[in-house]
Amino acid sequence: MITELFDLRPVAAPLISALCAFGIMLLGHHAGWRIALSLAASVVKFAVVLSMLPGALEGNVYRFSAGEILPGLEFAFRVDALGLFFGLVSSTLWVLTTIYAIAYMRGSHSLRRFFGFFALCVSTTQAIAFAENLLTLFIFYELLTICTYPLVIHSGTLEARRAGRRYLIYTLSGGAAILAGMVMVYQATGSLSLSTPGLLHAGIDERALLTMFVLLIGGFGVKAALMPLHAWLPTAMVAPTPVSALLHAVAVVKAGSFGLMRVIYNIFGVELLDTLGYHQVLAAIAAITIIVASLVALRQDVLKRRLAWSTISQLSYIVLAACLLAPLAALAAVIHIANQAFAKITLFFVAGAIEKTTGKKRISELDGIGKTMPWTMAAFTVASLSFMGVPLLAGFITKWYLSVGALAAGAPVYVGVMMASAILNAAYWLPILYRAWVKPPESPNPPRREAENLLLWPTLACAAYVIVLGLGAQAPAMPFALAQSAVAFAFGLEVVSP
């Protein structure tokens, strides 16, 4: 039974980050203030978000409304299971990324701007997670785009500006599509609330429904890097590593996936979508994305680019899982938010640490790096094995539920896709591991030169989390039960504790 409680915490969480951003803009001249504010805010926010977990597990839903901003449309936050799950992932990772960023960005220019917008991005991500209706979600979705822009073009080079422009063109066009779809939904139903398992109903003109689906999915699909809307992601990797890590593995792309899930589960709803059958097309697109992006990733030599293409591929797991409309697959979709985030951020951290410590960016330069940076590469190994779907690691859980769900949904072909993807993942991760561990380094006995501690510890923490997540229900702060209750809500099932 779901009980709605009025609470300040849903709004406090994004607000903390926003205030932190404000404080950094004001006081950020001094490194000390910058660091203190960023760390304090990230920890406090994590605590606030976490404090909602016990209640959420008991079935409470926290809600905060700031009143109507448009007729019939509130500016409101509501923490349900799905939102809290995403919120927990992003706030956990913010803590780690902040520590990493402090070390990584040391000595860069415009740090005040950097950390300020960094905090703003997290704030908006949190708000996206907690948005009560599509309008609130959309507001922060667009703000996220804007706040990320300065981070993407942080270096200010021509390449960065080009990437930034491309990023904006793609994401804002996507935003426009969402807006159009949102207007149609509102016109058809008089509401945009995300608190129901399916806002639209079968009585609406089917052409209109199709248009809404295309617009909303297309819009969110841009940030979720669904092919053919993915082209911004690889170029946006010019951003500093902490940015690529948090934003392009977690915040931005996940906001897209999260939006897609909201559209599928809360706007259309499982039942309606099942009768309409649009999900099948989307699932096919997602499957194609998974395979094609992996194939492209195979050919990338720059490490971060390979990571980017892998992200594109992995994100479509979420879409595919959500589109199968089977409870088990939906579970995979929810959990993969966390799984992909932790594994991918580990990889990005490692890529950044290698670049920062040795200056190497290309995979072909990584021969024997396992000898010089064993701990860093150990983290990399764990995360990449997770992507390959090795059991006891996070990625396996996704593959498992997705495949089982695909069978339950009567679409065994996607089991094949999963398996093909596993092999492709192996094909592009293992060569890196091979170079790092097996190939001899250029100089016969290179000195051990591990990344500095502030870079290393967050990386290891993330890698450890990949393992913890892989052990199933035991992950603290990202409990399986939460994902289950999110799925149960979307499918109208009774929550059964296993």
Binding site: L385, M388, G389, V390, P391, L392, F396, I397, K399, W400, Y401, S403, V404, L407, A408, P412, V415, G416, M419, A422, I423, A426, L430, W437, V438, P440, L471, G472, A473, Q474, F480, Q484, P498
Partner: protein, 498 residues
């Protein structure tokens, strides 16, 4: 916390102990004097614990412990039944020997510590496979030890080893993907993955998916079990790996594949369903062809380790053949043969390693007159080779006898014919070796070379396998020995449904 009876903790302990040993080696192993006590200590202690477990199983008690949920509602469950105990006993006995051998044979290797730690870890994981009480747990441990074997195969970093490693990893990953697919189909069909004597799947299950699952699982485990035509990696990986690990590869790793096949056939599908599906004749045919063909190929191989590798393929094919007949007697033979073959083949690889270490000879054609230089080794080699051929009263004879009885009881003359031909072929490829080392051709001057010093530790390990071969052949009814366990296991697996 629920009180867990101590014996239930034993399987967990047995799995964790070698892993702990591996960690300890990693931490303290830079001091060479710690290597031997740590490696042999943990491995030996594990063996002791396994013996305790075997005795509990003999008393009819089957300890079981359910650990965390891997993918809720599926848990990681470790349990011991007769089959698992038999396999665990083989593993636990063989590994200390291999470790002892490695301590000497790789004494000059800079990466001895790494090798030992990885071998210990592989032991723990392999014991996990033996104790896995559901298919998911089995998959988890199976995949992990498959992956951890890769660095062991490419340990020497020679181009040949690297090529063999690549071949191995490709086979293993593709095989793993097949297994995963099969497991997912099984889960979709049954909603569970527990090993149930007599078969998890009910007899009225849909034919096509059941067939699909069967094919996937057979292909997946068949890769490891070196079932033709999936044997491609075996002949390359064995010579490439360091001798102690070749022994493990051939002795228990290949057997792990057969073990998986056993589990799947008897405890997932069940004899009745398999009969309905009508697939076992196919498996029997493939196994039969495999046995004969591999034996024939072995004759043509000049390199000793490759010859032994093909011999392994051939011997494992008997096992598969016996399994495919679905009769209790044949099954007893198969199980005993797995265990006996492990020690014989491990001993033969130890010999091969010793010969290379002392003389540098790898090819059979170079072995002329070896007996004079290495008399002890030559004696043992002869003994083991004879056992392999199946000369009474050695262990090889016993298992082949049991196999033969089972084959004739269940399948008539044709399978028995395969066994006979296979044995003749074994004689054909092993006899020349014996012949050459004792009776060199006249023109070979090397034969006169002096008696060479042989490393004691390696000889001891070799001697242990030889002694085991004799003991197991003479005192087959040893309480807690392979035969008794095999009978128990066969009764559990097949006896359950008559």
């Amino acid at each position: 916390m629920i009180a867990v009876p101590l014996p239930s903790l034993l399987p967990l302990l047995v799995v964790l102990l070698p892993l702990l040993g591996a960690v300890l080696l990693g931490v303290f192993g830079h001091q060479r004097r710690w290597l031997a006590p740590l490696a042999l200590g943990t491995s030996g202690l594990t063996f002791g614990l396994v013996l305790v477990l075997v005795s509990t199983v003999r008393q009819g008690f089957q300890p079981e412990i359910a650990l965390m949920q891997l993918a809720p509602p599926m848990r990681i469950v470790l349990g011991v039944d007769a089959l698992g105990a038999l396999f665990a006993l083989t593993i636990a006995a063989l590994f200390p020997l291999a470790l002892a051998y490695a301590l000497k044979s790789l004494a000059d290797d800079a990466h001895l510590k790494r090798f030992l730690a990885l071998v210990l870890a592989a032991q723990g994981l392999m014991l996990g496979v033996a104790f896995a009480d559901n298919l998911l747990t089995l998959l988890a441990f199976y995949e992990l030890f498959s992956l951890i074997s890769y660095p062991l195969i490419v340990h020497d970093r020679t181009p040949k080893a690297l090529a063999a490693g690549l071949k191995y990893i490709v086979y293993i990953i593709v095989g793993g993907v097949f297994i995963l697919t099969g497991i997912i189909v099984v889960y979709a069909l049954a909603g569970d993955l527990a090993f149930v004597p007599g078969g998890l799947l009910s007899a009225d299950v849909a034919r096509t998916p059941a067939l699909l699952a069967w094919v996937c699982l057979m292909v997946g485990f068949g890769v490891k079990a070196a079932l033709m035509p999936l044997h491609g990696w075996v002949a390359d990986a064995h010579p490439a790996a360091p001798p102690p690990f070749s022994a493990i590869l051939s002795g228990v790793m290949v057997a792990a594949g057969s073990f998986g096949i056993l589990r799947v056939l008897f405890e997932i599908f069940g004899a009745q369903l398999l009969g309905q599906l009508g697939v076992m004749p196919w498996l029997a045919t493939i196994a039969g062809i495999s046995a004969v063909l591999a034996g024939a190929l072995a004759i043509g191989e000049d390199e000793f380790k490759r010859r032994l590798a093909y011999s392994t393929i051939s011997q494992m094919a008997y096992v598969a053949l016996a399994i495919a007949l679905l009769s209790e007697l044949a099954l007893v033979g198969a199980l005993v043969h797995i265990s006996h073959h492990a020690f014989i083949k491990a001993g033969l690889f130890f010999c091969a390693g010793l010969i290379v270490a002392v003389t540098g000879f790898k090819k059979v054609s170079e072995f002329d007159g070896l007996a004079r230089r290495m008399p002890a080794t030559a004696v043992m080699l002869t003994l083991l080779a004879l056992a392999m051929i199946g000369v009474p009263p050695l262990s090889g004879f016993l298992s082949k006898w049991l196999l033969g009885v089972g084959l004739i009881e269940a399948g008539g003359l044709l399978p028995l014919g395969v066994l006979v031909i296979g044995t003749l072929l074994a004689a054909a490829y092993l006899w020349p070796v014996i012949f050459r080392i004792w009776l060199p051709r006249e023109d070979v001057k090397r034969a006169e070379s002096a008696w060479a010093r042989q490393p004691t530790l390696m000889l001891i390990a070799l001697a242990a396998t030889a002694v085991l071969t004799v003991v197991l052949g003479l005192a087959a009814t040893l309480p807690g020995g392979p035969l008794e366990l095999a009978r128990l296991a066969a009764a559990q697996l097949i006896g359950a449904d008559g």
